[in-house]
Symmetry: C2
Subunit: 316 residues, 2 copies
């Protein structure tokens, strides 16, 4: 059986026909032009799916269904995008439109949940039954995989792991609360932390790295300069990893998963990120001697995580 995976991003909608083993057999997609009536994007997606099936000589029954990963607040039970800030979608009944226009079953979840499903079925998590995934990007997304199934919570609105308070009365978060993990461990937070440290140390190599233009600071700045042993950059990275470790400790104690997987932009730092985190996590482990270790991995699906994760929504 094959699957259709759709990765809705901020600037484009990408899709793929995916095989049982996680091979992307065929790719398609289109850029998101802003300003259309919201149903138009989904109608256009349905048209494209039908067109690609026909042109490539597949038939409907070659596919178990159409899985969709979408940023925002998704009601995965009703199949509706309740709200997506980036896309400015409100109450968009994605699943019913796709099912009506293609005749195939359709499932939708948020992008972090889809990433979790992808890692569990095709990625570094495929030998595990209980997993937690954190996507480190503009925000901190979360996915939870329990007993070989993606965990949704009521209406699929759980696993908002970035919105867990780790610092009472701490940094303001986009959700309106204070001290959420997202406000400390997202790439946006790292950028803020990097800039703050640079303002305090005008001699840091990081200034050179961004050609003395602080607006060019991104999630790589501190990591790249830390690799060159810049003291301030090392401190920023160390502090950032301390923040992230709090989240890792919490999710370890809550879920005691076999592994936690890091995805999103920062996961490109790979071992440089995970080796230090694994040490910090080990040092903070609860009930040290009597508690099974939680492994720490970085996503290996890269840019295809979205398509593969969406496709995986149809694999039980």
């Amino acid at each position: 059986m094959n699957y259709i995976g759709i990765d809705v991003g901020g600037t484009s909608i990408k899709g793929g026909f995916v095989s049982e083993s996680g091979e992307i057999l065929h790719r398609f997609g289109f850029p998101i032009e802003k300003g259309l009536p919201q149903e138009e994007y989904i109608n256009r997606l349905a048209d494209l799916i039908n067109e690609e099936i026909v042109k490539n000589d597949y038939r409907k029954s070659d596919f178990a269904g159409v899985g969709i990963g979408c940023p925002g607040s998704i009601d995965s039970e009703l199949g509706v995008c309740d709200y997506s800030n980036n896309l400015q979608w409100y109450g968009l009944p994605v699943v019913s439109i796709i099912e009506k226009r293609t005749g195939m079953p359709c499932r939708i979840t948020n992008d972090a949940n889809a990433a979790m499903a992808g890692e569990a079925k095709f990625g570094v998590g495929k030998n595990y039954r209980n997993l937690v995934l954190l996507t480190l990007g503009t925000g901190v997304g979360g996915g939870v995989y329990i007993d070989n199934h993606l965990y949704g919570g009521n209406k699929g609105k759980g696993a908002e792991l970035g919105h867990t308070i780790i610092a009472m009365d701490g940094e303001p978060c986009s959700c309106g609360l204070k001290g959420c993990l997202e406000a400390y461990a997202s790439v946006s937070a790292l950028i803020r932390q990097t800039k703050k440290a640079m303002e305090k140390d005008k001699n840091s190599l990081m200034w050179d790295y961004v050609a003395y233009d602080i607006d060019r600071v991104d999630g790589k700045t501190a990591f790249e300069c830390a690799k060159q042993n810049d003291k301030t950059a090392l401190e920023v990275v160390d502090q950032y990893e301390d923040y992230l470790t709090i989240g890792l400790v919490n999710f370890s104690n809550i879920f005691r998963p076999e592994a936690i997987i890091l995805g999103g932009g920062l996961s490109n730092q790979r071992e440089y990120l995970t080796d230090a985190l694994a040490e910090k996590l080990k040092a903070a482990q609860y009930g040290y001697r009597h508690t099974p270790k939680v492994e720490l991995f970085v996503s290996e699906l890269g840019n295809d995580a979205g398509i593969l994760g969406a496709a995986a929504l149809f694999i039980d």
Copy 2:
């Protein structure tokens, strides 16, 4: 089918024969005399179970099995009490002893997990599929119920909800970390908070309530004096509820359960505790309009929660 539920406490081991509907048909138990070889407690329990079955004219096949709730770090897969601080048990193979001596299947989990199972099968959680339970006592215990099953995590070592950091670099916790929920929301923490407030306000009604002996402060002191409108007591309760709300917000966002249940000693405050918490939780809810409400309940099983919860380990 009936069940045998065993509630291991700090000072006694209590048991009951429990019916399908959660009625305790017969009770038994014995006090824990300190200082015996650890296997002796379990051998004695096995003797007592056999004796009660015979004396009351039951037979082994009248029971699905023996469920045990036990404080400490329990390996529920191997059926071993890895470590119980209170009881000074280390690597005690409880399940194998009971199974060998009674011929019945036996399951063991920690006391908070058992409480969760009891509430889900017989208590306020029985109409829900996804639940979180917090026991507010000496520590903060946690139980998680997912898709109609008790969640254990790897080797049953998950659901340590009290050991989630809510205050970076905060109050020291018994687990060795700083800022855990347990260090803010346990009864021990409330007592510490109460004493601290009393030291600052020598005119508080709370002094009168404890007959000017600060060592008599317990988990009720602030609540009882708050009911009499003592300003400092009201502040202590309000602050304590703010701390607890952080945990409730986090577990709501992580699990999006249908309900969270509060158990343990403090749950005796009932509506006085939950009404305020429900308001605070509502105000801090993530994605307000698009997120299903998380109900807040207090345990209704009272002193029988331990026996019923242990019995419920055999109900699927």
